[in-house]
């Protein structure tokens, strides 16, 4: 479900993560089949490195990160 534009793959999905809710368990990073998420270099309010959506990615909108997140802070949108 991703479209090719000027030879750059652009995903039609967007993953939004509430960064201050993230507790840094990293399960979304591990279970993402396309490895579209990464750990931030910054710290959030809790003082943990939070998960964030990569700028260049090939997200297929499977929702694995959404289902496995214990905090429920991940939402997926379709452009």
């Amino acid at each position: 479900m991703s479209k090719v534009k000027n030879n750059i793959k652009l995903s039609v999905f967007e993953v939004r993560i509430k960064e201050d809710r993230c507790k840094g368990c990293q399960m979304c990073l591990f279970y993402c089949p396309g490895k579209c998420l990464e750990l931030s270099s910054k710290l959030n309010k809790k003082g943990v490195k939070f998960a964030q959506y990569k700028e260049k990615n090939n997200c297929i909108g499977c929702g694995f990160c959404y289902f496995i997140c214990p905090e429920g802070c991940i939402e997926i949108y379709q452009k």
Partner: protein
């Protein structure tokens, strides 16, 4: 932008008190999703246990009652008998359901009360620091069994609640699920939904046992905990539908 996956409406938009990687967070969301999906938010009454999920009433956006330790199914029986048209479920941990509340659990199941029970099995007393619970697996190290649980030295074997209750006539649905990867989470969602539908159709007592990670009490990282359930815990607690119909 079209929303593909979003937070269920039956879940309040607040932060939980659970540790990072705790299975309770996943299961609170699954229960809220099932309530949303079946459109029963106005007539659902939950009963929260004593344990890590004691504050679950803060997270769900429907009526929740609190019960004394282990007595969630006794309280749920009272609620269901007073309000037979409501959907009543309990959400309990293993120290609550399988240890102190064993009598209430077995008798509620044996009476065939029309209640759904979500049983979160994390193989230890997570809230108090990880002591041995009745569901602790053989050889598992906890702070009260530092050499691992040894059945031969009088510590007993892990209690398999799903198999135990499946032998009772009042139980219509008994299943064991796990949440160690997204596929299993989705499967657990289907089982919880089935258990709620059984209650709406008046079939009797439904139990959904879920193997859930407790990284803080197991002294593991969240990912190691998931791996441990997949490789070790399922040997003692085989997954699948044990009784249906």
């Amino acid at each position: 932008m079209k929303v593909k996956f979003s937070r269920p409406k039956s879940l309040n938009d607040i932060e939980t008190h659970y540790c990072a990687g705790c299975g309770h967070g996943i299961l609170n969301i699954l229960v809220a999703k099932v309530v949303d999906e079946l459109g029963i938010r106005e007539k659902t009454i939950g009963v929260a246990p004593v344990g890590c999920a004691v504050l679950a009433y803060k997270y769900w956006n429907f009526d929740v009652s609190e019960a004394a330790h282990g007595r969630a199914l006794a309280v749920a029986t009272g609620i269901k008998r007073c309000h037979p048209d409501k959907v009543v479920f309990t959400y309990q941990g293993d120290g609550d359901l399988a240890s102190i509340g064993m009598a209430e659990t077995v008798h509620a199941a044996n009476r065939g009360e029309n209640i759904t029970c979500v049983f979160v099995n994390n193989a230890c007393y997570g809230m108090t620091g990880g002591q041995m619970a009745p569901t602790t697996i053989v050889g598992q190290k906890t702070i009260t069994t530092p050499l691992g649980r040894e059945p031969e030295s009088g510590e007993g074997w892990p209690i398999r609640m799903a198999e135990l209750l499946s032998g009772l006539k009042g139980v219509c649905f008994s299943v064991r699920a796990a949440v160690f990867n997204p596929q299993k989470v989705m499967q657990t969602y289907q089982y919880i939904k089935k258990a709620f539908i059984n209650q709406i159709e008046g079939r009797g007592f439904s139990l959904v046992e879920v193997l859930s990670p407790c990284p803080a009490a197991w002294r593991k990282t969240p990912l190691e905990s998931m791996k441990w359930i997949k490789e070790e815990m399922v040997k003692s607690f085989p997954l699948g539908v044990i009784k249906s119909g």
